[in-house]
């Protein structure tokens, strides 16, 4: 679903710097009704960070620099917990991580933000174990300070090496080389023992290290979300208990970006959805599907604790956000797109019986014959009309929206006359799509009475260059039936 509504585009814009932040992003799940207070806290925390970005920019810069130098120690934590001895490079990475985390802790606590999930234990003892000489330098070696025996062996080895440097007589050289090899073996053995000892001394601190990894992950992700919200002008979604979804000037940032490249602008949408069935109708290419995806994306972002792309979004917490759209997977499973839709729908309907959420249906039942399709849509709308779940139907079917159902229409082409359309066509026949986009009114209008869906299909087909003879033949039929 993420790819369908463009969530992965948003995630790609996030500048996450640590492997811990990346893991946090991967594990993100939308919050449900029982976790509402946690979600509120997440959004409040995000607000805190956004507001402090300017004032504490120096601290944030230093934290980001520390992020860049952090190594991934999760493998080492696992090994240590498994009672395995770490090697000298893993100890180096642990030391650098602990020192980096200490620095980050310092800046973070100076900012007094108290974000949920971001707390650092005492990391000093870890650095002390890995820095017995108290140098606080970002390097590591199995220091002499760990063992007098080791120090002695190394001193003797140095003496032998000095002797080797000056020696010329071959048999003396050979003897010294022998001595050296023995000392090398002793040193290696002592170092091996020390690696095991140091790893054992570090074992009690693995929880603190793991907690630090988690804290850094949350901080990294929150900072990335905050920067994104600032850069892209997002707003804080407002959650309330009354079941509703109100979107003011909602946008889809990916589509907006695409349109900008073509020097076009995105038409933001305003909509209020109520519990039960809601509908958006209108002609093809009128932006109905995009409206649905815009609503889905922003609702999902809100539930993931992100700021949203709108002037305002007021909504209730949903236990689920489901989209029923054309499922390409159905083909693989041997089902028609209609078959796949029904199976998905069954699962979603089960959820609507158990709890309340947001259900979005994009052109439901358009994969079967139109007569039955219409009736199925009509019936489903009635079925969902009195549920607590907010369901939104996007459909091109005519006459399916009964009174009492919240009904929107896209502006479409109704403000235009066909004559003007064909004139534009004569000038630029290949740019039919582009002209269509320019002439289309993408805004949503609330419809009071049971208004018929405008019969724009032929207009649109003409604009896209449908053969003139065919258009004439169609008009004849239209004359008869319409």
């Amino acid at each position: 679903m993420e790819a369908l509504i463009g969530l992965d585009y948003i995630f790609q814009q996030l500048n996450i710097m640590t492997p811990y932040g990346r893991e946090g992003l991967k594990e993100l799940q939308p919050f449900k009704i029982p976790q509402a207070s946690t979600l509120m806290r997440k959004l409040d925390d995000l607000d805190l960070v956004i507001k402090s970005l300017k004032g504490y920019s120096l601290f944030y810069n230093r934290i980001e620099r520390a992020f860049c130098r952090l190594k991934d120690i999760r493998g080492s934590i696992r090994r240590c917990r498994g009672r395995e001895a770490l090697d000298v490079i893993q100890l180096f990475e642990l030391k650098l991580f602990a020192m980096g985390a200490l620095a980050i802790k310092g800046y973070y606590e100076a900012m007094a933000l108290s974000l949920e999930g971001v707390a650092f234990g005492d990391l000093e003892p870890i650095v002390d174990i890995l820095d017995p000489e108290g140098q606080r330098v970002g390097t590591f070696s199995i220091y002499d300070a760990y063992s007098d025996e080791l120090r002695a062996v190394r001193e003797r080895k140095r003496e032998v090496e000095r002797g080797l440097y000056h020696a010329v007589i071959p048999h003396l050289v050979a003897e010294l080389k022998e001595q050296r090899l023995r000392l090398v073996a002793q040193e290696a053995a002592l170092e091996g023992e020390l690696l095991a000892k140091i790893s054992a001394r570090l074992l009690p601190y693995m929880d603190i290290l793991e907690a630090a990894c988690h804290a850094i992950g949350v901080l990294d992700l929150t900072m990335a979300k905050a920067k994104l919200a600032e850069d892209m002008g997002c707003v804080k979604p407002v959650f309330q208990t009354e079941v509703c979804l109100k979107l003011v000037k909602g946008k889809h940032p990916y589509v907006e970006e695409l349109l900008k490249r073509q020097k076009k602008s995105f038409t933001p949408i305003d909509i209020v959805l109520k519990p039960g069935a809601n509908a958006i109708t209108g002609p093809n290419m009128g932006g109905k599907s995009l409206a649905l995806k815009t609503i889905a994306l922003n609702a999902l972002l809100a539930h993931l604790g992100f700021y949203v792309f709108a002037e305002a979004l007021i909504l209730s917490v949903f236990d689920f956000i489901h989209i029923l759209a054309n499922d390409y997977e159905s083909l693989k499973k041997g089902l028609s797109s209609f078959g796949g839709e029904i199976i998905q729908l069954n699962q979603y309907l089960e959820d609507t019986k158990k709890t309340r959420g947001l259900l979005l249906l994009d052109e439901f039942a358009s994969g079967t014959n139109p007569q039955e399709g219409r009736l199925l849509v009509k019936a489903l709308m009635q079925y969902l009309k009195n549920r607590a779940t907010i369901s939104l139907f996007v459909t091109h079917f005519d006459g399916v929206v009964e009174p009492g159902i919240n009904h929107y229409q896209v502006g479409g082409l109704k403000h235009l006359e066909l004559g003007r359309l064909t004139k534009s066509l004569a000038n630029d026949p290949q740019y039919g799509v582009s002209i269509l986009q320019n002439l289309m009114d993408y805004s949503l209008e609330l419809v009071e009475a049971a208004v018929a869906v405008p019969k724009d299909a032929l207009k649109i087909a003409t604009l896209l260059g449908l053969d003139a003879e065919l258009v004439k033949a169609a008009e004849l039929y239209y004359g008869q039936e319409v």
Binding site: E93, T139, F140, S141, K157, R158
Partner: protein, 344 residues
């Protein structure tokens, strides 16, 4: 010989590249390392795979590299196991090799090391930068002339070419082969700025490109190997130059000599002289027909080292070989074991 050492240690980076195995590359490396003791802070790394402890084909024992305390090294984690010095870990690089991640460390004692550095250009540049930042005054790169290596010795300031009796059966053979290799390594670099920017684009965008009157034409060929007919056709239909990213081999040379109609003034561009794997005869014929062979990156060969001992058991007369080489190529020639230096 002091002169040779001085010159080597003046460079910021020096790649030592052997013509063959058993040409004494490691011996020269150890010689320079020993000469730098107490004088210059050295950094050491290698391009691609270093020699194993014993050469598997000829069974000769390869000397390992012995470094003094204080030397900085960039080598793979797996190679550390066969190093016997006391070490301090300075940094990890994230660069992967068949023997694990490349680690940067400082020698806290003298000792033997096994070098296994990055095998790609970008990795090598990163390692050199890190070593420089850590204070290295001269960085020695144990290199390889290997048609498969994408590492670029022109990343270093200079090259020392190691040659020896292992290259050919007699003095004349060694001298000719070495002279030819040096000719190839020393091809001129393109100096015209306008052409240079076109060249850089060409090398960046693809593996095979052509310069025509109306500009650069980049093909989608994955390699120049096998694309001989395309190259011939393009040169015959108005292309003034061919840009080849990768190696140039004898087969292409033969095709060019046989089928290109008006070769005078046409240019073959390669990244640098190490990408030319063509025999003496073919190279001379190309030049006679009027081809220009130019590189994007110049290679500065600062000296040639000689190992007069062959792995097959015999040896050549070192002084004669050094003199002969000097007469042919005009570069400093050294035999560090016999303490002979010509042209210094």
């Amino acid at each position: 010989m002091k002169e040779f050492l001085n010159r080597a240690l003046q460079l910021e980076s020096l790649a030592i590249v052997g013509m063959e195995k058993n040409v004494g590359k490691t011996t020269v490396l150890n010689y320079i390392i020993e000469g730098a003791r107490g004088r210059r802070l050295l950094g050491l790394t290698s391009i691609g795979i270093d020699g194993e402890a014993e050469d598997l084909v000829t069974g000769t024992e390869k000397p390992r590299i012995y470094v003094p305390k204080g030397t900085l090294l960039a080598t793979a984690k797996g190679a550390l196991a066969s190093s016997d010095l006391t070490k301090e870990i300075l940094d990890t690089t994230g660069i992967q090799t068949p023997m694990g991640e490349v680690i940067i460390l400082r020698a806290l004692s003298d000792g033997f090391i096994e070098l296994m550095g990055p095998s790609f250009n970008s990795g090598l540049k990163l390692v050199l930068d890190k070593l420089k930042t850590l204070g290295c005054e001269t960085i020695l790169i144990d290199g390889a002339l290997n048609r498969c290596a994408t590492a670029d010795p022109s990343v270093s300031e200079g090259i020392l070419l190691a040659t020896g009796a292992a290259v050919a059966a007699d003095l004349e053979g060694v001298a000719s082969a070495t002279q030819h290799r040096l000719q190839l390594l020393s091809i001129e670099a393109e100096t015209d700025n306008k052409i240079l920017s076109v060249l850089k684009n060409g090398f960046q965008q693809g593996k095979l490109a052509f310069i025509r009157e109306d500009g650069l034409e980049v093909t989608t060929e994955a390699t120049a190997l096998g694309a001989e007919s395309i190259i011939v056709n393009s040169l015959n239909s108005g292309a003034s130059a061919v840009i080849i990213k990768g190696v140039v081999v004898d087969r292409l040379v033969q095709q060019l000599l046989r089928h290109v109609e008006k070769p005078e003034g046409k240019t073959i561009y390669v990244e640098d002289g190490t990408k030319l794997f063509i025999n003496n005869e073919g190279y001379s014929q190309l030049l006679r027909k009027g081809y220009r062979i130019r590189g994007l990156n110049p290679i500065r060969v600062m000296a040639v080292s000689v190992n007069p001992f062959s792995p097959l058991g015999y040896s050549l007369d070192s002084r004669s070989l050094c003199v002969e080489l000097y007469n042919r190529v005009g570069l400093p020639i050294v035999d560090v074991v016999s303490n002979i230096g010509v042209g210094l």
